[in-house]
């Protein structure tokens, strides 16, 4: 990565900007990586089935399905590795007045949601996530762009978090 002029101490601030020290950061369950990887494998297998069907088309150069399958397998390995880092990048911190949520490796983000602004707290879990025992907590404010969801929490932690958030939201509620 290039470091432009006058930027000596910056690399540290970059990381600090998205997960600053001194906050009570909580990580999400590593089971989330398992869930993502199962979804990934299902997706890749479906892709391979499509490639297999492609090869049945007459006049199809044999190289095409082979190249496509190779691409899919490389993607499998690469995304498999990235998922680990992606899951480790999730974090949330409950502070006195707001909740911090951070995530992302390539595209990073940090969301500060004041408790007084929360309108809904959703708990959701699809069939796969339920089977693995993880839940997603999603916060909604009056802004559609808020996008503060925390996946990969065990049901107990998620329910506890939801109840704390709801209680604090009620105490600090500020209308619109």
């Amino acid at each position: 990565m290039t470091t432009p002029e006058g930027s000596a101490p910056r690399t540290r601030t970059v990381d600090q900007a998205f997960m600053p020290e001194g906050e009570p950061w909580q990580r999400v369950s590593p089971v989330l990586a398992k869930a993502y990887r199962i979804e990934l494998v299902i997706g890749i297998v479906l892709g391979l089935v499509v490639v297999g069907l492609l090869s049945l088309i007459p006049d199809m150069p044999p190289a095409v399905p082979v190249v496509l399958a190779a691409v899919l397998l490389v993607a499998l390995v690469w995304i498999w590795i990235v998922i680990g880092r992606r899951v480790r990048s999730w974090g949330y911190a409950e502070r006195d007045d707001d909740l911090l949520v951070t995530s992302g490796i390539l595209f990073r983000r940090l969301v500060i949601v004041p408790y007084g602004r929360m309108q809904l707290v959703d708990l959701t879990a699809g069939p796969l996530h339920r089977a693995l025992g993880i839940t997603t907590v999603q916060l909604h404010t009056a802004a559609a762009t808020t996008d503060a969801s925390i996946p990969g929490l065990t049901p107990e932690i998620a329910a506890g978090l939801r109840d704390r958030l709801a209680r604090r939201g009620e105490q600090r509620s500020a209308g619109l």
């Binding site: 990565m1 690399t11 601030t13 970059v14 990073r108 940090l110 007084g116 602004r117 309108q119 909604h140």
Partner: protein, 490 residues
């Protein structure tokens, strides 16, 4: 209002009064107007479809088409009649608006007026000719939070509007309509020129010319349809003109009133304290004129669909075109005590050039005690102003290229709408500090803010003077006075 509408014949008398339970009905002509609305489209379809299928048009053909149109029209009016028959509205004991409706599926709705965001009185052309109007009430809430009542006579609609606003404000609901003061009017000439100077108009006209040229050159049996298609872009421009024609902004104690429209007249009322964010847009060609377009975010008014990825909204225009000073003066009514040019702006660092090589010089963010101001865009310049008390959440984002440069962007999440405040490509550490500080400022402002509950906290006064009670909310006059003018807008 009392002004005489030259297009309205106003032949209709108000519908019958409330029934035994105090419930009221809409005007009995409603189903007819709702049904007739589709007639032009049906006639066009009846004409173009046979032509498309290259059928020979004989007398029998015409008769069949006319009969088809007639049957569909009768069915539509009949269905609308059933809907009208089952539609009732009234105010309940708590002072909230209740609406019962539904033919096959019954719906009973209670519109909580304490959450009122805006009230519109609309007159689509047909309704306007008959002297009827639609009342559209927006309350804060997820999903479908809009209640539309169509149609009432204009006088009834205005009375209902006043009653809704008075009840939501907590004043006596039989209060007189609050007096108003005209703040600005957009001359038709300025509106035409401003529309012609927009890049999108240019492209739309180009498309129209292209389509029409091709049609003329290749003129075949599809000619009519293509000509219609070619007209669509021109129609878009005309539509903009028709929508914002005769735009007037007036101030009154119950909020800002916007009136506009050539064919469809719209009267919009925005109660005080409901504005979530204000955006200024200046297309490149407007710069020499010093013109600007002003848009608003109002909770509930924008969102069409539910769901978090919602990008759809209708543009809430406060002023379609106005000189900067006029725009600033009017925004000062919406955000009392805020002096936008006096807010000191901080430019993005020089290395943001590598991320945004056109607009980097225009990137800036600034704040004072009341609002945060962001600026971006080189060709079309955008300014966004969001009061601290209206900040929903704060986001810091960073893409790979920003990361390589040690930059990050701060987004202030506002309610869905055209205005999206963003401080782009700041130093990463600064972005983080800015987000943290903004969250703090928002929390402090929320704690002091009382305009949210102007309804609940003012039981007595008949016409709360909005201009007088707003600046008391943590906006000392000296807050903005000691800044030098940092504004370098051209």
């Amino acid at each position: 209002m009392s002004e005489r509408d030259p297009l309205s014949f106003e032949v209709l008398r108000p519908a019958s009064g409330p029934d035994a339970q105090g419930r009221r009905r809409l005007h009995p002509l409603t189903p007819l107007i709702q049904g007739v609305r589709w007639l032009p489209a049906m006639i066009i379809a009846a004409i173009t479809l046979p032509a498309q299928m290259e059928l020979t048009v004989g007398a029998g053909m015409l008769l069949a088409a006319a009969a088809g149109v007639l049957i569909v029209a009768v069915l539509a009016v009949g269905w609308n009649y059933l809907q009208w028959q089952r539609m009732f509205f009234w105010f309940d004991e708590d002072g909230d608006l209740r609406v019962d409706s539904g033919v096959l599926q019954k719906q009973e709705r209670r519109v909580q007026l304490s959450r009122l965001q805006s009230v519109d009185v609309l007159q689509p052309l047909l309704a306007r000719l008959a002297g009827l109007a639609e009342v559209r009430i927006e309350v804060a809430g997820a999903g479908d939070s809009r209640q539309s009542l169509q149609f009432l006579t204009l006088a009834e609609a205005n009375a209902l509007r006043n009653e809704v606003i008075a009840r939501s404000a907590g004043v006596r609901h039989d209060a007189e309509e609050a007096p108003e003061q005209l703040l600005a009017a957009v001359p038709a000439g300025d509106l035409v020129i401003s529309l012609l100077l927009r890049a999108e108009t240019f492209f739309l006209l180009l498309i129209s010319i292209g389509v029409i040229t091709i049609t003329v050159l290749t003129a075949g049996s599809v000619g009519l349809l293509l000509l219609l298609l070619g007209g669509v872009p021109i129609f878009q421009v005309f539509n903009q003109f028709a929508r914002y024609y005769d735009f007037q902004v007036a101030d009154s104690p119950d909020g800002l009133r916007l009136r506009h429209g050539l064919l469809q007249r719209t009267r919009q009322t925005v109660p005080p304290g409901r504005v979530q964010a204000v955006g200024f847009v200046q297309p490149f060609l407007w710069r020499r004129k010093g013109w600007v377009r002003v848009r608003l975010n109002i909770a509930g008014v924008a969102s069409g669909n539910q769901g978090s990825g919602d990008q759809s909204y209708t543009e809430n225009v406060l002023l379609p075109v106005a000189p900067w000073p006029v725009a600033l003066a009017i925004v000062a009514r919406v955000l009392p005590g805020v002096d936008i040019p006096a807010v000191p702006l901080i430019a993005a660092p020089d290395r943001s050039r590598r991320r945004a090589w056109i607009q980097w010089r225009r990137l800036a963010v600034g704040w004072d005690d009341a609002v945060l101001v962001t600026r971006h865009g080189r060709v079309t310049e955008h300014w966004e102003v969001v009061p601290h008390a209206r900040t929903q959440s704060v986001r810091v984002t960073q893409g790979p290229w920003e990361r390589a440069l040690g930059l990050a962007s701060v987004h202030i999440d506002s309610t869905p709408g055209a205005v999206r405040p963003m401080a782009l490509y700041r130093d990463a550490g600064e972005a983080r500090d800015l987000a943290e500080a903004q969250a703090g400022r928002a929390a402090a402002a929320r704690a002091q803010d009382r305009s949210l509950r102007w309804a609940a906290q003012q039981p007595a006064p008949v016409a709360p003077p909005s201009a007088a009670d707003e600046p008391a909310e943590g906006l000392p006059a000296e807050a903005t006075a000691d800044h030098p003018d940092p504004s370098d807008r051209g």
